[in-house]
Point group: C2
Chain length 347, copies 2
Amino acid sequence: MDELTERQKLILTLVVRDYIEIAQPVGSNRLIERYKLEMSSATIRNEMAVLTEAGYLRQPHTSAGRVPTEEGYRYFVTHFVYQTDLPDATRHTITHQFYQARQDVEQWMHLAASILAHQSRAASLITAPHADLARYKHLELISTQGRQVLMVLVLVGGEVSQQILTLAEPVSQEQLGNVANRLNQVCQGRTTDEMASLSLGAEAVEKDILVLVMQDMSRGEQRLSGEIYLDGLSNVLSEPEFIESDDARRAIRLFEERSLLHNLLARTMVNSHVGGVQVLIGGEGEWEELRQCSVVLARYGIPGTATGALGVFGPMRMSYARTIPTVRFMADLLSGLVSETMVGDET
Amino acid sequence: MDELTERQKLILTLVVRDYIEIAQPVGSNRLIERYKLEMSSATIRNEMAVLTEAGYLRQPHTSAGRVPTEEGYRYFVTHFVYQTDLPDATRHTITHQFYQARQDVEQWMHLAASILAHQSRAASLITAPHADLARYKHLELISTQGRQVLMVLVLVGGEVSQQILTLAEPVSQEQLGNVANRLNQVCQGRTTDEMASLSLGAEAVEKDILVLVMQDMSRGEQRLSGEIYLDGLSNVLSEPEFIESDDARRAIRLFEERSLLHNLLARTMVNSHVGGVQVLIGGEGEWEELRQCSVVLARYGIPGTATGALGVFGPMRMSYARTIPTVRFMADLLSGLVSETMVGDET
DNA sequence: ATTTAGCACTCTATGAGTGAGAGTGCTAAA
DNA sequence: TTTAGCACTCTCACTCATAGAGTGCTAAAT
């Protein structure tokens, strides 16, 4: 496809904007009336014919207006809204909300999901920041009952995982404390690989625990991240193209089927640098489940320390002009929070 | 309302069963054909008229079959399915699945939500077991960067909460360790009330931390429970009465609005003893958001130590015969797990 | 005293037919 | 190159008629 004329670009953007707003095919007359254009409807029709030929627009049927194709949305996104920034006022409001909730990573996640959903009027998803390579920081063993022990493992970066272990035989709290202390001294800051080559005292319990710790660490590395925080699903469901349609259910299922979501987020983690916003329109052929939907995704955090992904999910008709800047801003904001609280670790 | 005759009961159950299955008004002829009844359609019609008069059935319009009213469902539930048990095979399958995932409370929750959703073919919700009165068990302080400290607080019962603190001035890891050790000795097994009257060493940091710990504990007591695990929403959305209807969105919103869910679960926590299954049909007048829906709820756990709530949410037309026994069984199962791993705590 | 057959009646769902309206593409003039 | 004019197409909303399902009532049968 070669370049479009200025007028064609104008008409394309107007069609996309209008369709995003009203969810109905856009006709030539409608366009003139709404935007007070200085040309006749016939001219618009000619240009629309060109844009249709070029694959940016589509006619549901002969006597209907035009609807953007996936390529149309794509053109719109890359040429017109990608560089847009969020209004200062909005930025400040959001920043302020985060300032009030700086205690707790889990709270950030909920807040971020909520803000994303509200700003974009669509569904949002976000994973907690997660280290690519787990490094041991601190272990705590707490006996609960008989052979059962609660293990609390803290990783460099602040992730905490807890697990209930069942040992081969009962061990006293004192002994557990000793084991934890020794491991804490030896393993400080190490990765699983480094820990595998350590030589330890001959005590059986100690070795068992170490193995369990390493298992836990590598399990954590493999999964992209545990919880995925969601919000705003009902926004998506009330969009007209989802009412009565089967796609709604497919979309919801996508959100429940963690593995699909993980794939989706993993794609972002691989393809993109931190701060870059990816826009996936209508599944792009790859994702059958996303046929009518678009996803705006970004990675956040500090590569090498802890990163996560966040994004917005909605109908292909979503307001990219609002969503893309919001996603970018939230990614930056969270990157900042991660670096504030999680970096630096020379005890 | 006085007692129904046996035949009336029979017809009522058949109407409810059939309507639950096919989601369409049930007529007299249909009933005879499907269930090979030894009477004429006229007899059925007479009985139906009685049941309608008594408020158990309803006619959408003059020439339609009958549909159960809320009272009809209620009668059906209390008289016919309430005492039903889950088939042995199913019980074993479920128990087995839990046996494989006994490491981790979070995994239980996911598993329980998934099983509930699958068995009932509706949406499920469950909260983690939670102590009514928080008792201190163990504190760990880990310095991360500058004045920031990761606090990991373990409560009797196994709950773990983590939080990032910002201290007034930097404190070394060694010093933090000492503070934690002292508090661990003094506070062992105590409630916030008991901790409030403790006299401590004069060290400022120690007092500050203690206050933060107590804040965290009482915050935990207040909220019913942090996370609510959900699953199976798409099951509900594909039910015919939710297609195209506004109620679907209202239901989804209910699930997103945590406070509503909390209220719902709180109701169960207050009204019911552990193991008792509560059935809320069509909102019962109280819950506007649940107009077309029913909720089956139960409390599980060990009162005084840790309890939680679990339940199933679906259309009023849900299969109570499957759902109620499942909810009861899951509540018992989880109670067992709670007592196995969380009770007993004389370190 | 019940139960049932028969029948008139009511209401919905379905499909055909129709006209209005929106929007197009094409042609020819500006 | 743009625009006015116009014939054409397709959808949508509306009406109307009909088939069918299901009822309630009455009178006969058990």
